[in-house]
């Protein structure tokens, strides 16, 4: 791609959307929601730093982008989310 500074554009530019960057590949633990315990408070959705929780009445994890940071599990007031080791 770039060999010298002369090949670079003037300023750092990303010409693709961050959707192409599947942060799900970074995961070692994955959050799993126990829908029996979930009270649909959506606190997990608010805290997820990668917008990897989608609300479809109940919260759902988008594993393409969930990087497994565990913040949702930490914030859930009902302990409805557990972090499980990736297979």
């Amino acid at each position: 791609m770039f060999k010298t500074y002369e090949d670079l554009p003037l300023t750092p530019i990303t010409n693709v959307s961050s959707r192409t960057n599947k942060t799900g590949l970074w995961r070692t633990f994955k959050p799993v929601i126990d829908y029996e315990k979930c009270i649909k408070c959506y606190i997990c959705w608010k805290f997820c730093p990668d917008v990897a929780i989608i609300i479809n009445d109940f919260p759902q994890i988008d594993y393409d982008y969930c990087k497994g940071c565990g913040i949702c599990a930490n914030e859930c007031p009902k302990n409805a989310i557990t972090m499980e080791k990736e297979e």
Binding site: Y5, L8, P9, L10, T11, P12, N15
Partner: protein, 393 residues
């Protein structure tokens, strides 16, 4: 068309005839009448632009950055505390390679609170990657706005610039200014076209993270562009001269060819100094003035050339860097250190916070310089001029 206008009006006319399209503005004394005049132009239908009222100078520059990145020719103006509040975003504008042009009214930094002329506000932006022009009259203010867009928007440069005028000495002083015809300016200054820009149909991210492997490479590109701007400034000045009959040098030499002592002046002080040179020449005192019109990029070659023919350079700094001397003094010495010609260089700190730099004050400085030229510097490398209690002045 010749008109009697203030320096602030000259900035506004400059923005108008350069066809600036976006004006984000926040008022501050003594800049306010710049953006007021632009608002008048727009209200009267004489100028077509988007005027954005923002809540601070930080936001003003942020809006300039976004507008410029979207491909709009952008203008704003500020002063002192406003300029320094923009500091963070000034780096962004140059790093993002956006040709924003801004007027800065050189005003002192408080405390003590002061609204008067002083160059510390802009000198403190030295390392932000902006070109810096300093004007000696209102005609130059207007001409420099037009030239700056042409320099900044050149595809080999793509850097921002700000144009300085001394608070009150220019900002509120009315002088004769020849305002060029719109068609001629349009001929001189083509529309701004940006290749990579914010575009809804072609989304991109700007200002992304760069790993250590490539950071220096991007910064080097800026350094190269700033170096190239020296030639570009001269070339644009020549083209401007051909079209409008007024030319400007990076280092404007006045009666320096055969001078024994040359004094570096910046802004309006230089204009008064030229008058004093004429008076002293009549008395057989061979002094000259070199007006530093461009501080960034620094005219290193011109300074070295000047040093070949003089034994003494007196630098008149209208700002002070606490700890060691005025910035222009330091830069001039730095430029000369690796050259074969090293005249004595003395720093005169003068006119801070609007202390009037009268012909009398300048005559005393010039007389002192002639004396130092023959007797040597002794211990006074840096001298504050006109401070009550320091005596001698």
């Amino acid at each position: 068309m010749k008109k009697v206008v203030t320096g602030n009006e000259a900035l506004a006319y400059g923005a108008k005839i350069a066809r600036a399209e976006v004006i984000p503005a926040y008022p501050i004394t003594p800049q306010t009448t710049v953006v007021e005049k632009i608002a008048d132009f727009m209200a009267d239908g004489e100028m077509k632009a988007k005027y954005i009222k923002v809540e601070s100078e930080h936001s003003a520059m942020a809006a300039c950055i976004a507008a410029s990145n979207a491909g709009a020719r952008t203008f704003t103006a500020t002063s002192a505390h406003g300029l320094t509040l923009m500091h963070e975003l000034l780096f962004w504008a140059s790093g993002a390679r956006l040709p924003i042009v801004m007027g800065n009214i050189n005003r002192a930094m408080g405390p003590p609170w002061s609204v008067w002329a002083d160059h510390l506000d802009s000198i403190a932006q030295r390392d932000t990657g902006w070109m810096q022009f300093y004007c000696e009259n209102n005609q130059e203010v207007l001409d420099t706005v037009i030239q700056a867009y042409k320099i900044c928007e050149d595809k080999d440069i793509l850097l921002p610039a700000f144009i300085n005028e001394d608070a009150f000495y220019l900002s509120h002083t009315s002088e004769l200014v020849d305002i060029p015809d719109q068609e001629r300016v349009d001929e001189f200054l083509p529309p701004y076209e940006l290749q990579l820009k914010l575009d809804i149909d072609n989304p991109m991210g700007f200002g992304s993270l760069v790993m250590p492997e490539w950071y220096m490479e991007f910064r080097y590109k800026i350094a190269e562009a700033m170096d190239r701007s020296r030639k570009k400034i001269q070339q644009v000045s020549k083209e401007f001269n051909k079209m409008f009959g007024r030319s400007y040098e990076m280092l404007d030499l006045y009666r320096c060819e055969d001078a024994e002592a040359v004094f570096i002046a910046v802004g309006t002080m230089a204009s008064t100094a030229k008058e004093v040179v004429d008076t002293m020449r009549k008395e057989g005192k061979d002094v000259g003035v070199a007006r530093l019109r461009v501080f960034r990029p620094f005219p290193v070659d011109e300074i070295r050339e000047l040093a070949k023919t003089v034994d003494f350079i007196g630098v008149m700094d209208r700002s002070y860097s606490f700890g060691y001397g005025g910035a222009i003094f330091s830069e001039i010495k730095a430029a000369l250190y690796n050259s074969d010609y090293k005249p004595i260089v003395k720093d005169y700190i003068v006119g801070l916070g609007g202390k009037d730099v009268t012909p009398k004050v300048l005559e005393k400085i010039f007389t002192d310089g002639l004396k130092v030229r023959t007797k040597g510097l002794k211990d006074k490398e840096i001298e504050w001029i006109g401070v009550k209690g320091l005596g001698g002045w």
